[in-house]
Amino acid sequence: MTPLPTAERRPLSDRTFGFLLTLPALVLFGAIVFYPLIGSLTTSLFEQSLVQPGREFVGLGNFRAVLDDQFWPVLWNTIVFTGLGTIAPFLIGFALALALNTRLPGRALLRGAFLFPWVIPGVVVSFAWLWIFNANYGLLNGILVRLGLIAEPVSWLGDPDTAMYAVIIAKTWASFPWIMVMLLAGLQTVPGVLHEAAGMDGAGVLRRFWHVTLPHLRGIIGIVVLLEIIWNFQHFDTIYVLTGGGPAGATTTFAVAVYDTAFKGFDLGRAGALGALWLVLLLVLVVVYVRFAEREEQS
């Protein structure tokens, strides 16, 4: 039954074979990720249109133009969106995780149900909130008018002063469930013995939270917050469908600005320059994340 080992049986060492197995993915990835990334960064040095062939080398001209014009407001919008869009869902997700980590009846079911806003497609999140924020028939205006908090319906997404907050609320709604699940998984690894010991020493709920729960969750909190920051920093779907970056650029983040510059303004050079600056900032965040994750893995 068992054939004798032949000379051909190991023409390849395990190492070589192991490496060869990755080739299909590497070739595919080179073609659709690494080449496009480098290609897009290269356009930052050229005057190039999306719809016309040919391009002209302009050195750092695009960077100068972008830094004089769009970059700073876009950076500020991205920071506001990323900052508030991380803090708000984190607080909600953490509070919910703590609440669901008790002996609340039906908590397994609730945990599943709370995932809904995060599970549904990003455009559906935007549709639901577009409708809620609608100036004429929206639910939010309806409730606020009935409660007497506002006299007239407000155009939440049409006003530069409120649009960003409206977008952040929608994004918060879609983000908090993921944070809740991750932190709940972390909470379930906190040894109950620690809590009991602290409780017997007379530590109240708040002190036990501060001295037992929080230190135990440090690693997972860091991972969750950093990943959420990285994702928000490049988020596109919710913003684009809700406001398209408007009104008057009030919600234009890097993702929207690069997209619009390339595919509505057809200016690939400026889009590339803006994208390159965006990528540098993103890489800083990724490095922070990787360092943190490696340190957590070791400890």
Partner: protein, 296 residues
């Protein structure tokens, strides 16, 4: 997301046998109140989406809106069924997401096997490279992808969508499958080699059949990610090949007056496969979450 992300997986997949700490009654009341308040925020929009989808136009377009529905209708779903364009978007979504899942699982299975069971120089760097690539912003990749697909006449093709979707499904699937393969004992594969099986038959006769549940789960995650994509399908395909998310945006928004109830009904329809998929995937959820199964 990167090679180092499995720190949370470890903590997450080892739920302690210890029951949650006993709380006194005030604690439980606080928990219930927290769940109730966040529940209003979480389920209010879902409720409103459902109510709008089943309410006649006359009741929907009035201000202030009625919080409790009075009349019930299925006309908005009938409108969807009558709209041939939406049917085409649906078929496109099914085709593109399915083929993306198949291609991704095929390619990533070999890579994940390599990462899981072989040791060679550069392995860790390759892993980091593939997994970190999820962090590259899509809008930036899109510039060159558009030019390349345009140069090869691939704009408006399923292939362009499938290839562009692979940029985000492949890292995810490599990562998830590596996790599955890690749980398959080396002895099983070694035993087959001792019995004379070549490297290829070890993969195709032993590894893949044994990992079938993992392959299906991973494929389903890839399908969901493809189904949810917006930016690539919006840009690389026109109406003939577009998928549901950009298709719905183009159909219902940008009009002078949006048909909100129809859009809410369509939202329910486009969400359904994803919700079912996640219900099926419950047990793989935490592994999927930490590998960035659905990007936030």
């Amino acid at each position: 997301m990167t090679a180092t992300v499995h720190a949370p997986t470890q903590t997450a997949t080892t739920p302690a046998a210890v029951p949650p700490p006993r709380r006194r009654r005030p604690g439980n009341l606080g928990a219930a109140a927290t769940v109730a308040v966040i529940g209003v925020f979480a389920f209010g929009p879902v409720y409103w989406l459902l109510v709008t989808a089943f309410t006649p136009n006359d009741d929907v377009f009035r201000f202030p809106p009625r919080l409790w529905p009075e009349h019930f209708t299925l006309e908005h779903f009938a409108n969807l069924a009558d709209n041939a364009v939406l049917g085409r978007y649906l078929v496109n979504s099914l085709i593109v997401s399915s083929l993306t899942a198949v291609l991704t699982v095929l390619v990533s299975a070999y890579t994940a096997y390599s990462f899981s069971k072989f040791r060679y120089r550069g392995r860790r760097s390759l892993m980091s490279l593939i997994l970190a690539s999820q962090m590259f912003p899509q809008a930036l990749l899109l510039i060159t992808l558009y030019l390349v697909f345009s140069a090869y006449g691939l704009l408006n093709s399923y292939l362009a969508l499938i290839l562009s979707f692979t940029t985000f499904t492949l890292p995810l699937c490599v990562w998830m499958l590596k996790g599955f393969f890690d749980t398959i004992p080396n002895e099983l594969l070694e035993a087959a080699k001792v019995d004379g099986a070549g490297q290829g038959s070890v993969i195709h006769r032993i590894l893949l059949p044994v990992s079938l549940p993992g392959l299906v789960a991973t494929g389903l995650f890839a399908f969901i990610r493809g189904w949810n994509d917006f930016i690539f399908a919006l840009t690389l395909a026109g109406p003939a090949k577009q998928t549901l998310p950009p298709g719905l945006v183009n159909t219902y928004l940008g009009e002078f007056q949006a048909a909100w109830p129809d859009l809410m009904a369509a939202s329910l329809v486009v969400s359904l496969p994803v919700v079912i998929g996640f219900a099926v995937l419950q047990r793989y959820l935490v592994a999927g979450l930490t590998s960035g199964a659905v990007k936030g």
